[in-house]
Each structure stands twice: as structure tokens, then as C-alpha cells.
Subunit: 391 residues, 4 copies
């Protein structure tokens, strides 16, 4: 293309069916791709304003239902039917099987044990002493900084500022409560306001970046695992050994033996979690319910901890250390996404902890199922039967 190709846009109102269709024609014309299915949707393009630019259609991602899953959490209570949007065969069947195991064992206890969202600007000072002294000044002026940050938001609350110094750089990691929103934008805006206040009031000249990559946004990190990003949520259950034998064909002591092997492999490999496939179920719920799916990068981090009980039953817990979810804002209000949140009774304000608990319980279900299948030896055969094995 000698001349710059321009995607059609209407500067006055770009979120219309006309413009979506114009872009489909444009793309089809330039690439030869038919966009018939992409153009088939029930959502009003006007709704997409705020959720994406240059809208021209939708991905239709199949959703299956898994469950019921009995949860006995602080916010989630009862039996849940969980919508999973995925294209990986066997996944829904596998999670459903794990949900049955947990439900027949009496259900899953769940709890959110910590809750923070971060933005971490980096301040570059003249030298290390200046950076340390700046850090002290920040501690001393926390109340004013908090006020400046919170002036930008009705919901967000600045809980504390972690400080980490390297050379003359002082990383300030602002930790917020963000209500029912995931809060990355809210915290970005609040932190910018805080930085502006600091810049104006600090007696010396300061240079800073709004993010110095110690947040850490849209990427797994050790700091997130330790200090929590989003929700730190635990799902735990005591699995009855006889139910385990009947449904899965394995026993608690076998799973516990395998856990030791898996812990070692995970420690050696430097894994983001020591579980089997946390990411699978999480991703499927995230897509179905309008979460920011890129947050899977952080959200799949966690730790499995288990114990074999004297009676042969098996205590199994999953702790998601960085679960970033929302029930309000972002993509949660789009039509199919909202319907899926409503399936869980998790749409809107006041629901985010309930939703986090459902996510963690679902992850635990998937862990029990896949781990048993790997141990029992039917993992490959079930993929052959239910999955689209490409070769």
C-alpha cells in the first residue's frame, strides 16, 4: 500500500451499526476475509463505547455450563452453575466432574483474605540519600497524599504506600481498596493526582514515572504473590476418600504423594503456581463474565496447600494471590457478560467478593479433577474422546 490506509472512523459518533458495517466492508475489502459471523451479534454498538475502539463485530466464544458446585463461603453460599467460555474440549466436563466431587464431599469453603489494587510510580532522586529522605517525607505526609489521591474517586481508598529503593530510585507502590471494580484505571488516576500533589509540595525538584513496573500490571510477579494484587482468595475443602475413590478412582494418599512431586517440579521450574491448571477455569469464567481477560497473567498465580488427614480424607486448598475481578464497570455490563454474572448472582455493586469466591471454588474444582485424571491415567484418553486433537 503506497498510501496510508485508514480505518473508517466517524469522529462524531463511531459506535453505530453503520460504522461497524463500514469497517467490516473495509476489512473484508483489504484482506479478503468474509466477516459474516463476526457481524452477527445482538449487542448494540453504542454499548461498546468505553469498551473498545474501531468496533466491527464480535467473537462468538462458546459457553458451557458446569456444576452445580456447592459453596459455603462468606459471600457465596449455595449451589452454583458456572458459565465457562472456552474452546478447549474436555475442560468443562473436567471442571464439572471436580464440582461434583467437591459438592458430594460437602462443598467448598471460601474467603477473601486480602484485597488491594496498585499503581507504583518511580521517583528518581539526586542520590540514594535523597531518595531515602523523600521516602520518609512521603510517610510523614501520608494523610495529605491520601486525600489528594482519593479526591479523584468516589470508591477508591488509599490503604498504604509500600516503598522499595534501588540506587536513587524510590518506587512507591500505592495500595488501594477499589470496591467492586478491578480498579486499574481508578488507581492510575488517583495515583497521578497523588504524584501531582507530591510534586507541588515536596521542597525539592522530583522526576517520576507513573509506573516503574513494580505495580505489576498485566504481568505475573513475585511481588504480586507476596503482597496481593486484586483479591487474595482461598478455596478449601475436605474431600472424602470414599467419594474420591468412587468418582475419580484415586485415593487421598495417592494425591498427596503426587503433590510432593508436583511441589518439587514447581519450585524447580520457578512456576507462578504449584497447581495443575488454575488458568483454565479462570480464563473461561473471565471471558464469560466480561473480566479484563489480560489479567489472567496475574490472576493465575497462587499456591496449593494440602494435607492428608488421619482418616484418609484429603484437605485441599487453593489460594489465588492476585485475582483481579470486577462485577461493575469494564466489560461486565455488556449483554452476554452481564447475563453470565447474573447466572451467578454476581452482577453489579456489592458482589465482587462473592464473585471472587466463586472463581476460587471453580479453580479448586478443576484442580481436583485434572490431578485425579493425571494420576488415574485417563487424562489422555478423555482428551481423545472429548477434545479436538489436531494430529
Amino acid at each position: 500500500m503506497t498510501e496510508r490506509v485508514r480505518i473508517p472512523r466517524d469522529l462524531s459518533n463511531d459506535y453505530t451499526e453503520e460504522m461497524a458495517a463500514a469497517r467490516r466492508r473495509f476489512v473484508a475489502g483489504h484482506t479478503g476475509a468474509a466477516l459474516d459471523h463476526v457481524g452477527h451479534y445482538s449487542i448494540d454498538p453504542a454499548l461498546v463505547s468505553g469498551n473498545g475502539e474501531n468496533f466491527f463485530g464480535v467473537a462468538q466464544v462458546p459457553i458451557g455450563v458446569a456444576g452445580p458446585l456447592r459453596i459455603d463461603g462468606e459471600y457465596a453460599s449455595g449451589e452454583f452453575l458456572v458459565p465457562l467460555a472456552t474452546t478447549e474440549g474436555t475442560l468443562i466436563a473436567s471442571y464439572s466432574r471436580g464440582m461434583r466431587l467437591l459438592t458430594e464431599s460437602g462443598g467448598v469453603r471460601t474467603a477473601v483474605v486480602e484485597d488491594y489494587m496498585q499503581r507504583a510510580p518511580a521517583f528518581v532522586c539526586g542520590d540514594a540519600v535523597a531518595a531515602r529522605n523523600f521516602g520518609r517525607w512521603v510517610d510523614e505526609h501520608f494523610d495529605q497524599i491520601k486525600k489528594a489521591a482519593e479526591s479523584t474517586t468516589r470508591v477508591g481508598q488509599l490503604a498504604y504506600i509500600g516503598q522499595y529503593q534501588v540506587g536513587p530510585i524510590r518506587y512507591l507502590r500505592f495500595n488501594y481498596r477499589t470496591g467492586d471494580a478491578a480498579g486499574q484505571n481508578m488507581t492510575g488516576k488517583a495515583t497521578l493526582a497523588a504524584c501531582n500533589w507530591i510534586e507541588e509540595n515536596y521542597p525539592e525538584r522530583l522526576e517520576y514515572l507513573l509506573s516503574g513496573n513494580a505495580d505489576t500490571d498485566k504481568k505475573h510477579s513475585g511481588i504480586n504473590m507476596l503482597l496481593t494484587r486484586g483479591k487474595r482468595v482461598v478455596a478449601e475443602a475436605v474431600i472424602k476418600n470414599d467419594v474420591l475413590k468412587n468418582l475419580m478412582g484415586v485415593e487421598g494418599h495417592e494425591l498427596f504423594f503426587a503433590r510432593q512431586i508436583s511441589n518439587v517440579g514447581s519450585f524447580l521450574g520457578g512456576n507462578a503456581n504449584n497447581g495443575a491448571h488454575y488458568a483454565n477455569g479462570l480464563t473461561a469464567i473471565f471471558i464469560a463474565t466480561g473480566q479484563d481477560v489480560a489479567n489472567i497473567s496475574e490472576s493465575h498465580a497462587g499456591v496449593t496447600y494440602s494435607q492428608l488427614l488421619d482418616n484418609g480424607d484429603y484437605y485441599w486448598s487453593v489460594t489465588l494471590t492476585s485475582l483481579i475481578v470486577a462485577t461493575h464497570g469494564g466489560g461486565t455490563g455488556l449483554p452476554t457478560q452481564r447475563e453470565c454474572l447474573e447466572m451467578l448472582g454476581c452482577y453489579g455493586t456489592g458482589k465482587v467478593r462473592k464473585f471472587a469466591e466463586v472463581c476460587a471454588a471453580t479453580v479448586l474444582a478443576g484442580e481436583t479433577s485434572l490431578s485425579s485424571a493425571v494420576l488415574h491415567g485417563d487424562w489422555v484418553s478423555s482428551h481423545d474422546r472429548l477434545g479436538r486433537n489436531p494430529a
Copy 2:
């Protein structure tokens, strides 16, 4: 619910519109959620066989188009319009801006530099000596093990077996070429066959788990970053300083200064990558094109390396160390997903490296855009303008 609730299923043929509708009624009845939009789709439920169980509808995820992006790769060559399925406002506009920067600077060079998919069984031997000797036997019988593994697949090829020992456990990490498929199932099946062969032929009794969590599947890990999982793909560009100034309002030397800060933050935090938001663009392409989106957990790992050139231009590279993608099999053949792959000329066999290059080039575009915005200070304001800020 006193009696066990059962999701409707038709054991003879579950992938029909009738069954999908039956499940929607069931879910709606049990949860009170309307499923009108979820039930609106153009795909034939029969197509979902192999891609998910208990199908009852679709997530409609909005797709926008970004570009054009000029790529001068080994497989991808020309200008591309990239479909991004996301609900995060500003993301598509931001990637598009980065694509313009790169395209006006002459485009992106791309290359796949390594390519492996793994399955890592753990063999537990009698003691450490036995485990080490077992490992030697495996080396000596590689050709036969390879033959056994490859007997299960037309496409997969066993390249080498990495070995990692802890105590009496020998982790064997089977590394395969998997053609245009991502290959997790293919390699699982092949490795099971290999393990069976080993078990039958090894003179001593062996105990093994098909996966000991050193693969590492569906989770970020250090071993993946080092030794590659999926494609190791590089996108690199020299960004002209005057284009950078005009489009982004920043200069190369400023970006390079910020890079040093960001490298330190990433090293300190134990980040899965030292970039800005690799996961955002990748996830949006993955959803649009039918990738196994849970693989974002591994695929977002990587390393940014850059240099400031003497003339003020800025060399910028992104290396994705564990990009897991397919252009064949899995969800790639579903209707909207296929259309999006066709937009890129990447549908079907022989296209996976081209697609990997497009993914990496897109990531690079997003890095240039967000990093510039953070530096220039308009990151927050653009989210206010284009994003759905929930508080």
C-alpha cells in the same frame, strides 16, 4: 436443593440447538438469569463438539480493528489489520497508535527463533543413583522412545528430552515440534506412549506421573522463559526519533531512561516480563482468533531489550519466550475465530509462524504506545476519555 440438580444432557447427541436451548431454560430456571443475548449466535452447535461440553450459548466479545501494521518478517510480510477482542477501553486505540508509529518508522522485523512444546512426566525411582542411571538409559534409548512417542501423531516430532533430577525423582521434559497446532494434547498423548514404552522396556520397576509440573502447562515459569514453550519469537524495530516526537511527543533518550527504571522495577518485582503490557494485545488477539486463551499465563512472558542509537533513533525489541499459538485445531476453526485468522491470512496449516510473528509485532506496537503515554503523561487522560472508568 435436596436432590442433586443435573444439567440436561443428551448422551446420543448433545451438540444440538435443542439441547443448547434446554440448557438455557434450565439455567434460567435455576438462577433467574435471562440468557437472551447468550442465546443469540450464528454458529452451529454441532461445530462446538470437541471445543466444549454443556454448550448453551456464546459470549459476544466486541472486536475492534487496529492497524495497519507493517511487518517485514520471515513469514509475515506486508501491512496487517489486526482484530482485537477486548472490553478494555483505549486498548485498541493505543495499539493502533503504536502500529502507526512502527509503520511510519519502516515497520517491524519478526522471526521465530525457537519452537518447542512440552510434556514432563516425573519418574520416581528407588534412590538418587537409580534415578540418575534411569536418566542415562533414557539418553541411550532416545531413538526408540522417539519412535514410540511419534507413533501417536502424524505431525509431532520429539526433538529432545531435558532431564532434571531432585532426590530420587527424574523429571523428563519431552520437547516436541508440533506443526501448526499448539500441541498440548498431541504431546500429552505422545508422551504417554513414550512412558508406556519406557515402562515396558526398562529393566526395573518404575513409577511415574504424566506431569510433575516441570512442563509447565498453563502457568508462567522460569523454565519456560529459558527453554521456550511454544514459539520464541522476536519483534524488533528502529523507531525514528522524529516520528516518535511527532506522534508520541517523546524522544528516544527519554524512553531509554525510562527503560532503565522499568528494568530495575521488573527485576526487583520478579516480573514475568519487563515490558509494559504484553498481555493486553496478546489476549485480545487470542480471543479473536480462537487460541486457548488460558495460555496467556505462559505466553505473556518475555524480555524487552532496547538500545539508544547514536543518531537518537531508538532500537526496540520484544522477545516472547513462550508464545503458544495455533492456526489449526482447537478453537481456530470456529466461525468468528476463523474469520479473524483469515483477516491476517493466517488460517490453517502452514501459517503458525506467520501468526506468531503478527502476535509479536502487535505486542511491540502496544509497548511503544503505552510506554510513550506513561512518559508523556497522557496515559490517565486517555483512559478518562476513552475508557469506562468505573468510579
Copy 3:
């Protein structure tokens, strides 16, 4: 040996020359090793009481002197002659060369920017909710817990308790100020007292381990790098480009180019620091001055951050994130060790920050020297000339 061999011990007073000689005879008799040199020392065995059991002699570790090194720190100020106990040829010459470079560039600025020692018991509760609630109770009773902890020590002060939960386990990481002692024992004792107080006063039954390996004692860890263990100390200098050229034969821009390569290698490898050989100089000072040398495992962690200045000079900083040192207690009072601390004006109370600054400045000197040598290509040849190359 059919009968259990017993090392000679005198239960009434084991720290005598007689018992040392008896053990030398015992060891020589059982192993055939002559222990003539081991038995040659000037220290009084009585002094070793509290520093080691079953004393039978000494390791004579050669010490060389490096310097002078000009330091312009908060506590260390002036030119220092640094004792380095090592058996690695070229090391002292290399550090000395770096010290000259730094001194001729105007010296090194140093500062301790954070200071904590930890002990991290793990409390296992009934479930995740109980563990979270226990954590809140700990926060609410911080003053009383602090009082209980501090009742065991004249020096130690409990600064804060970090909390990290996984499943039903609540890791409490007690962070103390420990004055001029490294403080591992002091904090162990204080934390035990705190745990006893907690056990007695918490309304529910608790189970705990005094250390759950989140301290993390005697091992490198991510948590130490982030949250500091011992001293977080920075050494920084602006190295004049002409001095660099004259002494080292390299230029600032070359070092900066190499830094980018080294940062990538370190990030990819999962390195405990991104420098060249922090551990070398540190270990040599530690042995000379009676530090607990096993703490090298934690103390060698850190981050190098540098910038190329517009005039070609090179800003170079080293941040040791977990430097564990003492100038009082432990081995610091033994005769040769005390003499070496006195060489630095660092013996006794009130000197530990000064000593930490000397350590960091020495590390920086070694970094400049080795990095230049690798770049200039004389690293191997100098080892050939000065080192004992064994093959």
C-alpha cells in the same frame, strides 16, 4: 567402626588448649591427617566459647589489603584500607584497581536506606477465615506483642509484622531493628516470646512453627530483595570517563552497552543480582571481619542501576538489599577478626552502618573492575598471570 566413636569433650570446660589438642590427636588418629598448621594459632580457646563447639584449631585464611578507597558516606567517611580474606588469585588486585578508579573519580557515596532483621513463624489455623481473623487480631494487639517480644532484648525493637496467608496458614514476618548485631538469634528469641504471648492470649487454640521459611534465613529469596533483610545499602559513584579510559581502557558508553546485555542475561536467568561478582568482595570482607559467612547466601542479592551521563561520565550504583552484618557479637570479637574491623574503624557498638557502607563501596569497586576487564578482554589474561589456574 563397630563401636560408636566419640569426639573427646570435657563437660566441665571444653574450651581449653588441652581439649583442643586432645581433639587434634583424636582426629589425626582416626583420619591420618596431620593437623600441624590447624593447630597453629594465637587465639585463646576460651575465646571460642560461644562461637563454636568441638574446637580443635583454626583455618588460616590469607588476608590481603585493598585500597585506599575514598568513601563519602553518611557514616563512613575518608579513605579506607580494606582487608580481604580470600584464596582466589587476582581478586584483591582487581578490587584494588576498582578502588583506585573510584577514588580518582572522587569517591563513593554510600547510605543505608532500610534496616530490618526477621523471624517468621507460621500459624496454622482451622481454616482460611480463622487465619485471616487471627491476622487481624495480631494487628489489633501489635503493642502488646511488641512488648512481649522486646522483653527479651535490650537492643531489639519490633518495627512491624508483615502478614502473608496461604490457605489456613498465616505467616507472620516479624521485622526488628537489631542495633549493631546481625540479630538472627535476638529476633528468634524475641519472636518466641511474642508467640508465647500470642498463644496464651488468643482466644482460640493455635498451632505454630517458629519459622515457616518466609524469613528467609540463610538463603536468598525474592522476599528479602523486596522487603530488605539486614541492611539495604547503596553505593554510588560518577566515574569520570577519562579516568576510566586511562585506568581501565574502556569508556562509559561501552560499559553502558554491556550493562544492557547483562541486565537481560540476569533477568532471563533469574539471578539474585544483575552484577558481576558482588559475592567475591563481600565474602572476603566477611571472613576477615568475623561475620557469619553463611549470610553471603542472602547478602549477595542486589541490583545494579546505572546511567550514561551526557558528558560521557558513567553513573554507577549498587544496592545490596539484604546485607547482614555486625560489628558487635558473633565472631566480631575474635582476635584477627577484631583487628580487621579496627582497620576499618568499625569495631564495636555504633559502627554497623559505617561497616555496611564500607561493604557496599567495596562491592561497587569490584564491579567496576571486573566489568571493565571483561569488556577490555584482559580478564582471562590477568587470571593467568595472578591466579592459580589448575589446568
Copy 4:
């Protein structure tokens, strides 16, 4: 000091008692420190040539003897008395107690399961494609590169070259067998020769650094843990539950419960090992036997793996993944150091694997002792009794 202070040196022969004394006078004069004890030694300064510059005395580090420890290894066989040079009170007593536990349980099995030493130059190519193609050329010319490398050494053998690419940088990690030497210098020299050969023979111009920090020398790293640096050595034992109860007052099932807690803490913290205090015993042996003690940074990495047996006995293994030791060259030939190696029957050529086994067995002994003490609650009280608690 207005004029540059110069440490006395004799360019014709600096390794004499006269020069050592001259330097002591110089240091004493400039610093006021008496160096009486430092000047008391039995070693001939001429011996220090090759082990350190500017020699002026010795550190007298107290050595105690621990044991006997029964080892049933591939190279180490029988009962060993282990010299531990340390200033940390209780340490020797604690290791000795663990040795008794292991010996009374039947002893420790040991084995070296992998053995490599590395040097990792970084080649910077024109772009990613060029770097990948360069890597292929290296593979194709491995035999010639090996020949060039091995031309510099009688002992070293190049086993394989690992390749890791980021952007246009190709890190080549040369893996050698180094006989009884640790081999860092040997491999540096050999790799320089290999790089020279590559530079001369590669058809395009190349730029490289002799180390790009992916080796990784003198620092802990994930790559070392995975791919072995030095010796990968396992020590394992089945500890009888009744012996455990009698000697330690704890039982196997209690230790196993604690192991689960400790595994979680280690995974969460990003620890270099999941053990209690590997570094303590290792450091003490290293100092006693003339190892390069800075290698503790790498050598303390490892993995503890254990299982509770059905009869209540406890299987415990320690795998050191990066143990860097020598029995020839370096400081091993110095008088006291040699005597300590002779105590173990480990001095000289052909002994390095035996020595590695002794190191690992000693580490295992220390793990059993400290872990039991922490569990039994006498860890603090024994430090009070035996250690020099500074506050």
C-alpha cells in the same frame, strides 16, 4: 590524605615475610589497628602466590569437628569426621547431633547426578534472524569449537553449549567437565579461545561479551538450579522414627507436617532452597577446606524432598543443584585447608566427587537437626546456652 597512599609492594617478589610485615606496619600506621594476631601464622607467604595479592596476614577462623557421620555413597564410604570453620555458636553441635541421628539410622546415601561448569558469552548480532542463524552455525561447528576450547586445558572438556536468545543477543552457555577443579578460570580461558575461533571463522562480523550474566557466576540463579552449576549432588536417608523420637523428641509425621508449611513459605518467598539452613554447614566446610567461599552464593541452592513412610519412618533427601567445589587448585593446597581435606580423605586429584558427597551429607545432617529443634521448641534455648547472643 593529600597524596595518593600506596600499599607497599615489591614488584620482584611480593610474597615474602618482609613484604607481609611491611604491609602490616603500613596498615597499622594508617589505621591505628594492631595486627598482632593477623600476623601470627604458620604458612609461608610464598605459598600465597596465586591465592591473593597484598598478603599481610591471616584470618584465624576457629574450626570444630562434627561427627562421626556414616556415608554410604558412590565415592564417600565410611564414617567421617567433618571440619567446620565457623564463628556461629551451636552450629557445630547442631550438625553433630544431626550426624548422630543419620548414623544411627543407618547412614546417608549420596550421589553426584550431574556435573557441569559454565561460562556464557553473549553475542550481539545485527538482528534476531542473524542471531538465530549464528546459533545454528554454532551447533553445526560444535566439534571445531570444542577443539578450540579444549586446546587451552588438559582437564576441561566441553560437553554442550546451551543457547538462549533475546532480541539480537544469543547467549551461548558453554558447559564443561572440569575434573577436580571448580573450573571457573579454566572455563573462562577455554571459552575465550572458543570465542576467538568463532570470531575468526564466522563469515560475518560479530560482537561479544565474554560473560553476559547467564552463566551465572558468583550469584544464585534459576538457570543454575535447573541446569546444574558445579555438582548436582543428592544426599538421602531413611530416618527411623524411634531414633528420631529418642534423639530429637519429634516424630516423622510431625516433620512431614512441618515440611508442607515450609514448602509453601519457600515457594511464596521465592527462596533459593526450601530447606532450613543449607548455607551454614556448607560455608563452614568451604572455609575449612579452602573452597572459593564466594561460591556459597550459588552452592546453597537446592531442593528438599521427603516422604513419610507407612511405618512412620521418614525419607529425607537434599539435592544441591549448584555445588561448586574443588579438591585441587585454588585454596585447597594451602596448609590448614589441605589438612582439613585430608581429614576427609579428599585432598588432591580424583577426590572431588567424594568431597561433594561429604558436603551434601553434612547439609542433610544439619537439616534434620535444625528442623527438629525448631519443631521441638528448643532452638532458641540451645542458642541461649551455646551461642553468643549479643543482646
